[in-house]
Every structure is written in structure tokens, then in C-alpha cells.
């Protein structure tokens, strides 16, 4: 396997690249005239929310990368996090976002990335120690209530479900499309709740494994349900400028493509739960 | 010709004798060749009475029936609207008299007139017509199937007897299956409603797909069954260790995962383009003719919106020209299906579905309701006539003219 025990060289190179990035990014921000726009009342022309979210993501990435220098996560986790970051950037700033303006299907693809691709990858890359290394104690305090949710997979799933259905209600969906600020809020809701959900599921303990399994099945069912509705709908739910075909395709993405990660995770989770229980019962017998 | 007659007389008469008990005495004086007498006229009567709810004026109907009496239409063999006509070869007979008080609606068209036009024009259509007339007279099915049917009975009988007589039936089963298979191959795929006798773009594609899948899956089937019998052979010892792992891996990964996955991929690669071809896409030339068909219990209302022509239980289309059928229903769910032209599409109240028809040659194509729609579902038949563009134009002009005359 690939593994670098002392990635000093890598770190040195990265520091230099980092520096260039930061300088360039700040220069870009300052040169952008869109800063003058009034948030929340503008009708979507504003670039500010995009920039802000970019800053936020960049900041997170930066803190991880710096944290990784202090506490090396291992190449595999490190790479996973970097790949996830690239996917996040592609999802939010790539062409998908532009297509999403007019195509329900592209928008759904964007949402699917945020719900079933980025969060599980992020969870699997286990970035907490690095964040902790960067931020110190405050991040632990801040994340404390969130960490509590993670212990209740069904609660996390319910929260996630609420967010999904909330933002797919026609008026709210259109609101998010028309106003960039709300769009960012929408995406944040998806990312955060999905992150919690996947965390609760993928890193379930032996006490929560059974519930994590149920939470996965529940999520599989209700997202499929929403997908089915979008697939069969004859009415244009999200305004007349999007085609019916695109809406149907969006439904299928959610139903079928979106279902696959949940199903795979359910099998994985079920297997893990089963083995934990069996191993435990065997160890009890041996005692 | 004599030989043919003989053959033709075997089947229907044999069947007819069985049925004579249920024959009404009054009907016996009619020609024995009129096999349809076995059907209770009362049932049709009932059907027609129900039909009177149609929004077609009585005067119009009479008018057309009179026109109808000129010559036997090519559609008579299959169109059940004519089934109750006592003798379709009598030309002087007025159809309306056969069904006193029933007001059978007849559409605003007269196929015989088209026949007249086409006599000099379309050879293919003529021959079709001749064949249909033969069918009419003898009330048997198409020649192609008939040719082999008697042979088959002999084979089947001998097989059955031998099965009953001998103990080694397993071999006999295989031979019976083989015989049935041979029967499939030798008897034609012809038939006025056969999906395997395609005359339209969609139906051709589906037919191709069928033959491909039939051969492909036959090979899979034989392979699996052969493997089963190979596995069932008596053996000395149970496999263990490495050999067992090998068998397991081969079977489950190879047979359980790869075989179906590859088959599915092949089928998808083949099926999606075919499906696309059958769909009513906006084609490059937007010159698609629209015909609205509304299903009723138990008849078809046909409406040409541009030409303002209304028909019942028959559709006239130009051959080699795409036609979109806009299918809907006035009461329950029906399904529009003309097997030789394309697949079926459901006719659902409140919804309009579109099906594209494109006949590749002129002729008459039988269609039938494919979704169970109540008491007389079995009798909900329609005919599609595909004409050459010129003939079709003539037909349009004529019907348009008459329609406008009538509306005045």
C-alpha cells in the first residue's frame, strides 16, 4: 500500500502552494465589485453568497490541510478529503450550478452530490482530529451538540428528511433558485444534515448499529418516495421555465441513482452490525 | 382448387357438427359455410343496441348503409361490425335490414369505394383483398397456418398415444416439445393480427427484437437445463476444498452475476434504440398526421381534426407516412392496438397518449382493444387501412366533401 510515514517533503511543497492560493484568493475577493450588493433582497444577480460560501469552504479546507500538517491523518484519509474538496468545488462552482438554473435534473444532480456523495466521503475521511488540531478546543465545544445528534441515527435521519422535504416544497425550491442567499442556505442545510446523517450511519457504534440500519432504510424509502412523485408528476412543480422531462429525470436520479448509495450502505451497515453482534456473543461464550 | 376446397371443408365442418346441438333451427337453412352462425345473434343484437348511444345521426347511418351495399368490403372477414350480416356475398342486400331496429352506426366512410379506386392501382392490396374474400367465404383462418394444422394434429395424437402407452415418458416429452417447436417454425407467422407479420416500423422493430431474444434465450435456457441434468448425474463423492471453491466461484460469480449482467447489457444496448424508434418523437420532418381515437364501450371513435372527418371502427392512413394516434377514452380504460403496425397504448379517461403508426405497405390491418373494458371487450375490433398517398388523398377529398355536404 501507498503510505508515507514522514511526509515532510509533501508538507513543504504544500505550504508554498497554500501561500500562493491564499494571496490569490484574497486578491480575487477584494477585486470583486459584487460586494456592494444587499444580501437577501437581491434577485439572484449577486455573487456575494457564492463568494462567501467559497470562502467558507476554502477556510475549512485550509484548516484541515494545516491541521493535517500537525496531525498526519494517513495518506488514504488525506487523499479522500482532498478528493471530497474537489468534488465540493465542482458541485458548487462547476457547470452543474449553471445548468441547475434551468434544469431540474441538473439541480437534482447537484443535490444528490450534496446528499449521497460528499457527506459520506467526508465522514469516511475522518477529518475531526485535523480540525481539532487546527482550531483547538473551541471546535470541540461548538460541535458538542452536533456530536450528540450523531448518537441518535433516527434523529439525524429525521432531521435530514425534514430538510429534504422542506426544500423540495415547490415555493421554497423556487425561492432558493431565485435568490442566491437562500440557495446557499439550502445547500448548507443539505450538507450539514446529510453530514450528520452519514456520520451517524457510517460510524455507528455497536449500540447504534441497529438504529443506523433502520435510519438508512427509512432514508432510502422516503427519498425514493419523493423521487417517485417527481417522476410521475404531470404538473410543472418548480415553475414553468423548467421542462417536465427534466423534472422526471430529476425524480429518477433521486429514486434510482440516489437509492443505490443508501442500499449499498444498508448492506454494509447490516453486515457490520451482524458481525459486531456475533463477535460479541462469541467473546461472551469464551469468557 | 378442388384439393383446397376439401381441406377447407374439413376443419370448420368438423367443428360445426359438434356445435349443431346448440344451433337454432331457424339458422340451419343458412349456408353451412357460415360458421359465424354459431355465435348467438342475440348477443350481437345486444351489442348493437348498446351502440345506439353513439352520437351518430340515424339518417347519416342509413345513408351510409345504403352506400355500403355496393360490394363486400375487404374488411368483412375481420371487422365484427359485419359479422352479423347474413350473407356478405349478396350484393343487393341492404345491411340495415339485417339488424332491424338496431341502428348500427356506420361511419362516414365506405371501404368499397376505395376498393373501387384501388382495383386499378394497387396490386398488393388486390391480392390481399382476394385472400380475405376467400377467408370470408369459407370462414377459416389464413392459408399459411392452415396448411400445417392437420399435420400437426396427427403428430400430436400419435405423440400423446405413445406417451400414454410407454413408460419412458421423459424421452417422449422431449420429442413432443420438439414437435411443437417444429410446428412453430413451419406454421407461418402470418395472421391479420400477428405481431410476427409486421407491416409497420414499430412492429418490425418489435418483431426483430422478439426473434433475437427468442434465439438468445433459447440458448441460455438449453444451457441451464443441460447443466442441471449434468449436475444431477450420480456421483461417487462430494467435492471438497479447492475443487468445491472452484465450482462455487464459477457458478455463483459466472452464472449468478456475470451471465445475467451481460445478458442485460446486451438487451439494453439493443432495446433502447429500438424503443426510441417506436416512440412518437418529433421527427425531422414535422409532417406528421394527427388522428384522434377515442375509445368507447365497445367501439372506436376516430376523428381527423385537420380534415374534419369522423369514422367509427376504422382508420384510414397513408402508407409510408408517420401518423400520430392521439388516444383517449370516453368511459373506461381501453388500449389501442394494431399489432402489425406498432405496439399498444392505453386509452385512459382524462389523459391523451400518443402512438406513432407508420405502415410500410398498403393493406388492411386488424386491431383489437387490448385492455379489458367490460362485457364485450372481445368484440371491440377495428380496422386500419393503409393507402398509397394518392389514394389516400382521394379518400380524404371525398370524405371531406361529403362531410361538408352533410353538415349543410
Amino acid at each position: 500500500m501507498l503510505s508515507i510515514k514522514h511526509p515532510i517533503q509533501l508538507v513543504l511543497i504544500w505550504r508554498r502552494i497554500l501561500f500562493v492560493y491564499i494571496i490569490g484568493f484574497i486578491a480575487f475577493l477584494l477585486s470583486n465589485p459584487a460586494l456592494a450588493h444587499d444580501p437577501f433582497s437581491s434577485t439572484g444577480e449577486s455573487q456575494l453568497p457564492i463568494i462567501l460560501s467559497a470562502v467558507l469552504i476554502f477556510f475549512l479546507w485550509l484548516s484541515y490541510t494545516v491541521g493535517a500538517i500537525k496531525v498526519w491523518p494517513g495518506l488514504r484519509h488525506w487523499l479522500l478529503f482532498q478528493v471530497t474538496s474537489v468534488i465540493i468545488c465542482l458541485t458548487i462552482f462547476g457547470p452543474l450550478d449553471e445548468w441547475a438554473e434551468t434544469s431540474t435534473a441538473a439541480h437534482m444532480m447537484q443535490h444528490m452530490f450534496m446528499m449521497v456523495l460528499i457527506p459520506p466521503l467526508w465522514v469516511l475521511s475522518k477529518p475531526l482530529p485535523q480540525f481539532k488540531a487546527f482550531f483547538g478546543k473551541p471546535v470541540v465545544w461548538l460541535s458538542f451538540p452536533l456530536l450528540k445528534i450523531v448518537r441518535y441515527p433516527m434523529l439525524a435521519a429525521a432531521l435530514h428528511a425534514f430538510m429534504i422535504w422542506f426544500w423540495h416544497a415547490p415555493k421554497l425550491y423556487i425561492l432558493a433558485l431565485e435568490n442566491q442567499w437562500w440557495h446557499v442556505v439550502e445547500h448548507a442545510c443539505f450538507l450539514v444534515t446529510a453530514g450528520l446523517f452519514w456520520w451517524a450511519v457510517l460510524r455507528s457504534t455497536r449500540f447504534t448499529a441497529a438504529r443506523a440500519f433502520l435510519a438508512l432504510l427509512f432514508t432510502l424509502m422516503h427519498t425514493g418516495f419523493l423521487g417517485a412523485l417527481l417522476t410521475f408528476a404531470n404538473a410543472l412543480l418548480y415553475g414553468p421555465e423548467r421542462s417536465l422531462q427534466s423534472q422526471q429525470l430529476a425524480g429518477l436520479y433521486m429514486w434510482v441513482l440516489g437509492g443505490i448509495p443508501y442500499l449499498v450502505a444498508a448492506f454494509w451497515c447490516g453486515q457490520r452490525w451482524f458481525q459486531q453482534v456475533i463477535r460479541r456473543s462469541k467473546s461472551i461464550v469464551h469468557e | 382448387m378442388q384439393k383446397k376446397d376439401l381441406r377447407l371443408n374439413i376443419n370448420p365442418n368438423a367443428i360445426l357438427i359438434n356445435k349443431l346441438a346448440s344451433h337454432d333451427a331457424g339458422q340451419k337453412n343458412q349456408s353451412t359455410s357460415q360458421y359465424r352462425n354459431v355465435e348467438a345473434p342475440g348477443q350481437y343484437l345486444c351489442c348493437w343496441v348498446l351502440d345506439t348511444q353513439q352520437p351518430v345521426q340515424a339518417s347519416e347511418r342509413k345513408h351510409h348503409d345504403r352506400k355500403n351495399s355496393v360490394a363486400p368490403g375487404a374488411n368483412q372477414a375481420t371487422n365484427f361490425t359485419h359479422c352479423n350480416q347474413v350473407n356478405q356475398t349478396k350484393q343487393s342486400r341492404n345491411a340495415a335490414q339485417d339488424r332491424p331496429g338496431t341502428n348500427k352506426p356506420k361511419s362516414g366512410t365506405s371501404p368499397e369505394r376505395i376498393t373501387g379506386i384501388q382495383v386499378g392501382q394497387i396490386g398488393c392490396y388486390q391480392s390481399d383483398q382476394r385472400r380475405d374474400r376467400e377467408v370470408n367465404q369459407h370462414w377459416v383462418k389464413r392459408m399459411a397456418c392452415n396448411r400445417h394444422s392437420t399435420d400437426y394434429v396427427l403428430l400430436a395424437h400419435s405423440t400423446l398415444l405413445s406417451i400414454l402407452g410407454k413408460e419412458q415418458w421423459s424421452r417422449k416429452i422431449i420429442s413432443t416439445l420438439l414437435l411443437i417447436f417444429i410446428f412453430f417454425l413451419t406454421s407461418g407467422c402470418k395472421g391479420p393480427q400477428s405481431t410476427l407479420d409486421p407491416a409497420g416500423i414499430g412492429a418490425s422493430a418489435a418483431s426483430f427484437l422478439w426473434w433475437f431474444m427468442c434465439i438468445f434465450f433459447s440458448i441460455v435456457f438449453i444451457g441451464v437445463v443441460a447443466l442441471w441434468f449434468y449436475a444431477m448425474r450420480p456421483k461417487e463423492k462430494t467435492l471438497k476444498g479447492y475443487e468445491l471453491a472452484k465450482v462455487t466461484r464459477r457458478m455463483i460469480i459466472g452464472g449468478g452475476l456475470l451471465l445475467p449482467t451481460i445478458s442485460i447489457l446486451i438487451l439494453i444496448a439493443l432495446g433502447i434504440p429500438i424503443g426510441n424508434r417506436m416512440m412518437p418523437f418529433a421527427s425531422s420532418n414535422d409532417d406528421v398526421m394527427a388522428i384522434h381515437v377515442v375509445g368507447h364501450q365497445w367501439w372506436w371513435e376516430v376523428w381527423y381534426p385537420k380534415e374534419r372527418i369522423r369514422l367509427i371502427n376504422e382508420i384510414h392512413i397513408p402508407a409510408n407516412h408517420p401518423v400520430d394516434i392521439h388516444a383517449s377514452s370516453a368511459d373506461v380504460i381501453h388500449s389501442f392496438w394494431v399489432p402489425r403496425l406498432n405496439g399498444k397504448i392505453d386509452m385512459i379517461p382524462g389523459h391523451t397518449n400518443i402512438l406513432r403508426l407508420q405502415a410500410q405497405k398498403t393493406g388492411q390491418y386488424r386491431g383489437q382493444c387490448a385492455e379489458f373494458c367490460g362485457l364485450w371487450h372481445a368484440k371491440m375490433v377495428l380496422d386500419v387501412f393503409a393507402h398509397t398517398p394518392e389514394t389516400f388523398q382521394l379518400w380524404i377529398e371525398e370524405n371531406k366533401a361529403r362531410n361538408s355536404n352533410e353538415s349543410l
Partner: protein, 837 residues
């Protein structure tokens, strides 16, 4: 030596006193799973013969073109009833009956976990079946096809009682299927032999577990659909009426949401039989156990996502068709895994070709052919041609007869010595197979061809000259040959009672625990319950049958008068508690009888009688739930043998908890279907419209919901205390909760009363009405159960040592709260966010 034998005989007598089956009229009270299972199977077989007779009549009619043997109406009634009887009265109940008979024996238990529910299930099945068939005698049998498409089944097009018979009768029978499904799930999860971990469970039980779960999720949509359609027919609620904002396609979705999984509900237990028999006759363990289990579960999942392939001609968006086409083909993968696991088992074993294997071979040939035509049908362009033709008829008979009937007969011959203690005739069985197999293929192989020649299905006759004459005649001849074969099986079964030789112990050299019982089995199966730390107990421990009968294993005491079996961990199979089971009782029989009268009164629309029956039924059910837990009739005293765990009613972990959870899954599945209908109509119904003014006040409903949440959360917090053992003010608290819940119910009724709903005018209001009634029903039941708990506390059935029951009710409370707020979001908030058109 003789002293120990005498002691053993005494022990058996003791067990017979506790477990024995009464004779005469009191036989109606028997709750024993062996008896109930056999009753299920025998009744289903009789229904099968009736259904087969109908098929014979139809084949006679179609033998020749333009026949007059049957009138079209008679034919329509026959094909509708043939499908209905075979699916609802034969295939599913027979498979359930076999599972009821086998599952407890295979997992080393003495009975199913809710024995009284089995009785209710059986009588619901019997009465429902009789109700359906009576329509045939009265000449008003359903005549609109077994999938009852609206609007043909709506009042204007089917004014008679025909459709009502179907809707009510099938709903009645489905109650049976569902309660049995729940029972099987809980039994398999909670009563396996000690140490029988999930991965050591016989494959048959895996199949039954997945089948039962599929029933739990699959049947409720049809029940809901039937209820909605019956409401439309009886009260004029326009769910499926386009003109008033409904949509007929909604029915098709609800039907196939059930209908497709139903095919697998039939197939899976039959495949379970195959997976049980093949290792026995190959004389080696099944190859790829894990793969097969994975395949079963995957089949279960996929089958819920492919119902649209029955609707390819409806005009579904083409992208959806492509997706569903692929999804439908994907089912081939888990099926192929099972198939090749069977092949690998045979390849690596030393197969013996006994009679059951002959039928399994028949199964293989027919089923593979049927599966392959199934993949063909999943090809949308081809389906457009052959959908609703005789090709589909041929395909479905290949699949259903191939995958269900052939393994079933194989299983019948295999377990015949177990049922009766006698062997059936091998020669006659071979002849029967020959006739059935040849007849079947003659009938249905050529039917593919008939379909390809364009013959639609469900036509009572056909014109001569279209090319369908000969194929139909051959099919009819074949069907009569097949009938001879089936008659021979029957004859064989009947004759073997008289002439069959006595079966030796474990005649086939099987590996599973059911062969460790005596044949025919005693009512208590095993006098002592063995541990089962292996997949093949009888191969690994050949002495097991002897040691079991000698009482050398656990729970070998019945002097306390309780029926006992082990309650074990759902995953590991570690012993957790002793489950004590109720004894024979009249209540289930009377409950089923009252239900039958209720359904008949609904059919005849004499609603006074219905209300009366409803009152009686509630009384019976309350009494039923009263004789539970620590009630003297259920568990006279709580002493157990030293070293044994406590009785389940004295823990927090009884099977009732699981029963409630699985029942709520049924409930949730039904609610999901209702919610689907609501949102579906919003987005699809062509003439959907919403009343100008919201029919229900948002504020009053909100207040009502807050009351509900308050009482529910109170209950939840109370249970937290109960779990810790604090029970000082339990009764007071329960009464307090009941009062708040009562106020909530009153407020809900007031909201309902003051609403401007016009459920007969527009589909919107009709659905809101149903949702409202659904919520109300749950609130009322939560109230009743809370009162019952308070009363039981007052009577002392709940106390410091027995706190189990209120915990069971807790789930119901939480569920009620959740569905209330989901309903609130659906009917109050969702319309506010509607922007489409």
C-alpha cells in the same frame, strides 16, 4: 430402565394436558400451529381445485372459436375469479400455511409467538374465501379482472355488487395474510432455538422472513386501494374519478405497488422449499449460503421498485420506462445467484433422484423458461406488443406454476411423511408428474405463440380466421391433460392414508430440526428444546431426535400449566426469557365471525348492522387484549425453574414489543400509500382542483396537535420512569394522560365538525377526509389503550414486577404523534407551498 420410561410417559401425558388439542366443536378453539397450518393448506387446496375448475371451463370455452359454451359475463366472472382465487385464496395462504406448519419446528420452538392470531388469520381466510366464492354461486361474482382497473370498477360502469364482493372479500382475506406475516416475522426473530444465530438459520426461514416482511410492506397499499375504491363505490368519494379531480391511474399504482411484490411473496417461499430440498437430495450443505441470503434480501428490495413494468403501456414518461425496464431485469441477478447456487450444490454433491427431485427438475425447467420470458417482457418495446396478450398469460403461468406449484408439490411429497407419518406412492407421483408437466407445457408453451399472433387476453371468444384456432385447441387439450395430472396427485394423497407405508424416522436423511419431531408431530413439537449452534443439526448431531424425546434438553417441564418456549436474541440466538403462550381460546374464532358479519353487512350496505358488529368486535378485541400478560388465564404464576430466565411478561423485552413494531410497519406502509395518493393526485390528476378556502382551520388543528404531543410526550417520559422501575404514581399519570388525550380527541372531532369538507364533491376533500379519519382512529386507539393500561394497573396486572405492557403501547403513542404532524404538513402546509400548475 422401565422406571425412566414410565417417567417419560408421565411427562408426555403432562405435556399433552397443557398442549393437547380438544375434539368436537371445541376444535374451533385450537391455536396450535400444526393444526392451523394444516387447516390453511387443506382449505387453500380446496380453493385451488375450485380455481382450477374455473380454468377448465374457460379453456373449454376457448377451445374453439366463436363458441357459445359460456356467456361473456360468465366468462368474465370466471377469469376474474380464477385469478383472484389462485392468488389470494391459494398461492399466498398455502405458502403461509406451510410456513406456519414448518417454521416453529425448523427453528426449534413449540409454537408461533401469537397463537391466537394464527386462529384469527385462519378464520379470516376461510370466511373471506367463502364470501368471495359465494358471489360465484349467486351469479354476481366480480367480473372486471383480478386487477380491478378503475373506472371500469367504479359505480357507473359496474353498478352491481360484483366489484364490492371483490373489494371487501379480498380485504378480508388480506387481513389474514397480514396478521400471519406479522406473526411469522416476530416468531423467526424471537423464538429461535438457543444459539441459533441469524447466520445459522435454515435457508427456508430466511425466505419466509423476507416473504413475511414483504407482506408487511406490500399488502397495505392494496388494502388502502380497496378501501378507497369501496368508499368511492359506496359513498361517492371521487378518488379515481377524473371529472372530480381524481385519477384512475392512481388505482393502478396502488394495485401494482402490491401486485409486483406479491409475485415474489409467492415465489420466495417456494424457492425456500427448493433450497431446503436440494441440499438434502444432493447430500451436502447448500453452497453459497451467504450469497443466497443476500440474493433473497436483494430480491425483496428490488421487487418494490419495479411495479411500473406492469404499466408500460399506460403512457409513463419514457425515461421512467427505460429505468424501470433495467430495474426489472436486475431482478434476474439475485434469482440467477440462487439458481446457480442450487446448481453448484448439485454439482458438488452426490444427488439422489427421488420423487421430490423430479418435481424440482420440473420446477427448474418451467421456472427458467418463465424467468427468461419475464426478462423479455421487461424490454419495453417488446412489452408494448405483447402486453395484455396471451403471451403474458403464458408467461405468468410459467412463472407462477413453475416457481410456486412445482416446488409446492415437491414439498408436499417431501413433507408428506411428516404430516401424516406415511409415505406417498412414488410410482403414482411420477405418473402425476408426467401428466402435469406435459399438460402444462402443452397448454402454455403454445400460448406464447397465440399471444404473438395477436390474441389479447381476457377475451371470452375470438373470431375464426385470425389464426388462433389451432393454438387454442391445443392449449385446451393440454389443460385437460394437466388436470389429469393434478387429479392423480390428489388421488395419491388420498390413497396414501390407507395404503401408504409407515414412514421411517427422517426418511430422506434431512438436516433440519423439523425431522426431530415425531411424525405426525405432537402438539408441542419437542418435549425438550435443544440448542442449535449449527446449520445442520440432524447431520451434526444424529442422536438429537432421541435425546429430545428423552427430555434431555431444556424447558422439559409442563407441570406449571404454562405453554412455554424460548425467547431468544434476534441476532445471536442467546436465551433472553421464557415466552409463555396463550392456550386454546374461543375469542379469535368469534372475532373472525364478527368480522365476517361486518364485511357482509358492509357489502349489503346495512350500516346499522355494521355499527353493531363494530361494537361487538371492539368488545371482543378488548377482552382478548385483557387476557394477556399476567392475567390468570395467560400466566397463572411466575415461578420458573431454578436457573431459568424470567417469563417475558416480567421483562421489558417480550415479543409483543416486536409485534407492535411490525404492526406499525404495516400501518406506516398503508399511510405511505395514502400520502403517495395525496401527492400523486396533486401532481398528476388532470382536473385536480383545490377548494378556494382551506376546508380545515390551521389553528384549531395545530392546537389539537399540541394537545396530542403533550399527552404523548408525557407518556414517553412516564415510560422512562417505568424503565427505571419508578412506578409510584403510574396509575395517576396514566389517567392524566388519558384525560389530555380525551380532550385532544374531542378537539379533533370539533375541527372535523366545523370543517367545510365536501368529500363527495372533490377528490381533494375526499383524501383529506380519509387522512383525517386515519389520524382520528390512531388518537382514539391511543386513548383506549392508555385507559386500558390504567385499568390493568388498578386490577394489579401491571405492577412492580410486570411493567412490560405500557412499554408496548409507547410505540403506538410515538407513531400517532408522528403521523399527526406529517398529516398536518401534508394537508395544511404543503398546499401553502404549492406553486405549480
Amino acid at each position: 430402565m422401565s422406571r425412566s420410561e414410565i417417567a417419560l410417559q408421565d411427562k408426555h401425558r403432562e405435556f399433552n394436558q397443557v398442549w393437547g388439542n380438544p375434539k368436537g366443536l371445541r376444535a374451533l378453539t385450537i391455536v396450535n400451529h400444526t393444526t392451523i397450518g394444516i387447516r390453511f393448506m387443506v382449505t387453500a387446496t380446496i380453493f385451488f381445485l375450485i380455481g382450477g375448475l374455473m380454468a377448465m371451463l374457460m379453456r373449454t370455452q376457448l377451445a374453439l372459436p366463436a363458441q357459445q359454451f359460456l356467456t361473456p359475463d360468465a366468462y368474465n366472472q370466471l377469469f376474474t375469479m380464477h385469478g383472484t382465487v389462485m392468488m389470494f385464496l391459494f398461492a399466498v395462504p398455502f405458502m403461509e400455511g406451510l410456513a406456519i406448519y414448518l417454521v416453529p419446528k425448523m427453528i426449534g420452538a413449540r409454537d408461533l409467538v401469537f397463537p391466537r392470531i394464527s386462529v384469527l388469520g385462519y378464520f379470516c381466510f376461510l370466511f373471506g374465501g367463502l364470501m368471495l366464492l359465494s358471489s360465484l354461486l349467486l351469479g354476481v361474482a366480480p367480473n372486471t379482472g383480478w386487477f380491478m382497473y378503475t373506472p371500469l370498477t367504479s359505480k357507473p360502469y359496474s353498478p352491481g355488487l360484483n366489484a364490492d364482493f371483490w373489494l371487501l372479500g379480498v380485504t378480508f382475506v388480506e387481513i389474514s395474510a397480514i396478521v400471519t406475516g406479522i406473526e411469522l416475522v416476530v416468531s423467526i426473530a424471537r423464538t429461535r432455538a438457543p444459539k441459533m444465530a441469524l447466520h445459522l438459520m435454515p435457508l427456508y426461514c430466511w425466505y419466509i422472513l423476507v416473504m413475511a416482511l414483504m407482506i408487511v410492506f406490500g399488502f397495505p397499499p392494496l388494502i388502502l386501494g380497496s378501501l378507497l375504491l369501496e368508499l368511492e363505490r359506496a359513498a361517492g368519494f371521487p378518488f379515481f374519478d377524473v371529472a372530480k379531480g381524481g385519477d384512475p391511474i392512481l388505482w393502478q399504482h396502488l394495485f401494482w405497488l402490491f401486485g409486483h411484490p406479491d409475485v415474489y411473496i409467492i415465489f420466495l417461499p417456494a424457492a425456500g422449499i427448493v433450497s431446503t430440498l436440494i441440499p438434502v437430495f444432493a447430500r451436502r450443505p447448500m453452497v453459497g449460503y451467504r450469497w443466497v441470503v443476500l440474493g433473497i434480501i436483494t430480491t425483496g428490495f428490488i421487487s418494490f421498485g419495479v411495479w411500473v413494468h406492469h404499466m408500460f403501456t399506460v403512457g409513463i414518461p419514457k425515461l421512467a420506462q427505460a429505468f424501470f425496464s433495467v430495474a426489472s431485469m436486475l431482478v434476474a441477478i439475485p434469482t440467477a445467484i440462487q439458481l446457480f447456487a442450487w446448481l453448484a450444490t448439485l454439482l458438488s454433491g452426490r444427488p439422489v433422484f427421488r420423487l421430490p427431485m423430479l418435481w424440482i427438475t420440473g420446477f427448474l425447467i418451467v421456472f427458467v423458461a418463465g424467468g427468461l420470458t419475464g426478462v423479455m417482457l421487461a424490454m419495453v418495446p417488446f412489452d408494448w406488443q405483447v402486453h395484455d396478450t396471451q403471451f403474458v398469460v403464458a408467461h405468468l403461468h410459467y412463472v407462477v406454476i413453475g416457481s410456486m406449484f412445482f416446488p409446492l408439490v415437491a414439498g408436499l411429497y417431501y413433507w408428506m411423511p411428516h404430516f401424516t407419518g406415511r409415505m406417498a406412492s412414488e410410482t403414482m407421483g411420477r405418473w402425476a408428474f408426467g401428466f402435469t408437466f406435459v399438460g402444462f407445457n402443452t397448454t402454455f408453451l403454445i400460448m406464447h405463440w397465440t399471444g404473438l399472433l395477436g390474441m389479447p387476453r381476457r377475451v371470452y371468444t375470438y373470431a375464426p380466421g385470425v389464426g388462433w384456432d389451432w393454438p387454442n385447441l391445443i392449449s385446451s387439450i393440454g389443460s385437460f391433460i394437466m388436470a389429469i395430472g393434478i387429479a392423480m396427485i390428489l388421488l395419491d394423497v388420498l390413497l396414501h392414508f390407507r395404503f401408504g407405508r409407515k414412514a421411517p424416522a427422517n426418511p430422506w436423511g434431512a438436516d433440519t430440526l423439523e425431522w426431530a419431531t415425531s411424525t405426525p408431530p405432537s402438539p408441542y413439537n419437542f418435549i425438550s428444546l435443544p440448542e442449535c449452534p449449527t446449520r445442520h443439526p440432524l447431520w451434526d448431531y444424529p442422536n438429537l431426535p432421541q435425546t429430545i424425546t428423552q427430555g434431555k434438553h431444556t424447558l422439559a417441564v409442563a407441570s406449571h400449566g404454562r405453554r412455554e418456549t424460548w425467547g431468544t436474541d434476534p441476532v445471536t440466538g442467546e436465551v433472553r426469557e421464557i415466552i409463555h403462550l396463550p392456550a386454546n381460546a374461543w375469542i379469535p374464532f368469534f372475532a373472525a365471525l364478527t368480522l365476517a358479519v361486518l364485511f357482509v353487512s358492509l357489502l349489503l350496505q346495512s350500516y346499522t348492522l355494521s355499527v353493531m358488529m363494530l361494537v361487538i368486535l371492539s368488545g371482543l378485541l378488548l377482552r382478548w387484549s385483557w387476557e394477556n400478560g399476567t392475567h390468570p388465564n395467560a400466566a397463572p404464576h411466575e415461578q420458573t425453574e431454578p436457573g431459568d430466565p424470567p417469563l417475558h411478561s416480567r421483562t421489558f423485552d417480550g415479543p409483543g414489543l416486536w409485534g407492535m413494531a411490525v404492526s406499525l410497519l404495516v400501518d406506516a406502509s398503508m399511510y405511505m400509500a395514502l400520502l403517495f395518493g395525496w401527492l400523486y393526485l396533486w401532481t398528476v390528476a388532470p382536473l385536480w382542483h383545490v377548494p378556494e378556502q382551506a376546508p380545515i382551520g390551521w389553528l384549531s388543528l395545530l392546537i389539537s396537535g399540541l394537545l396530542l404531543s403533550f399527552s404523548g410526550i408525557w407518556y414517553y417520559r412516564l415510560m422512562k420512569q417505568v424503565r427505571k422501575g419508578h412506578v409510584s404514581c403510574l396509575q395517576m399519570n396514566l389517567w392524566g394522560i388519558a384525560i389530555v388525550a380525551f380532550v385532544h380527541v374531542l378537539s379533533l372531532l370539533w375541527v372535523f365538525w366545523s370543517s367545510s369538507l365536501q368529500p363527495t364533491q372533490i377528490a381533494h376533500d375526499a383524501v383529506v377526509f380519509v387522512m383525517f379519519v386515519y389520524v382520528l382512529f390512531h388518537s382514539v386507539l391511543a386513548l383506549i389503550m392508555t385507559i386500558q393500561m390504567a385499568l390493568r394497573k388498578a386490577y394489579g396486572y401491571i405492577g412492580k414486577q410486570a411493567l412490560y405492557e405500557p412499554i408496548v403501547v409507547e410505540q403506538w403513542w410515538l407513531y400517532t404523534i408522528v403521523i399527526f404532524w406529517v398529516t398536518y404538513a401534508a394537508i395544511i402546509l404543503f398546499p401553502l407551498s404549492w406553486a405549480g400548475g
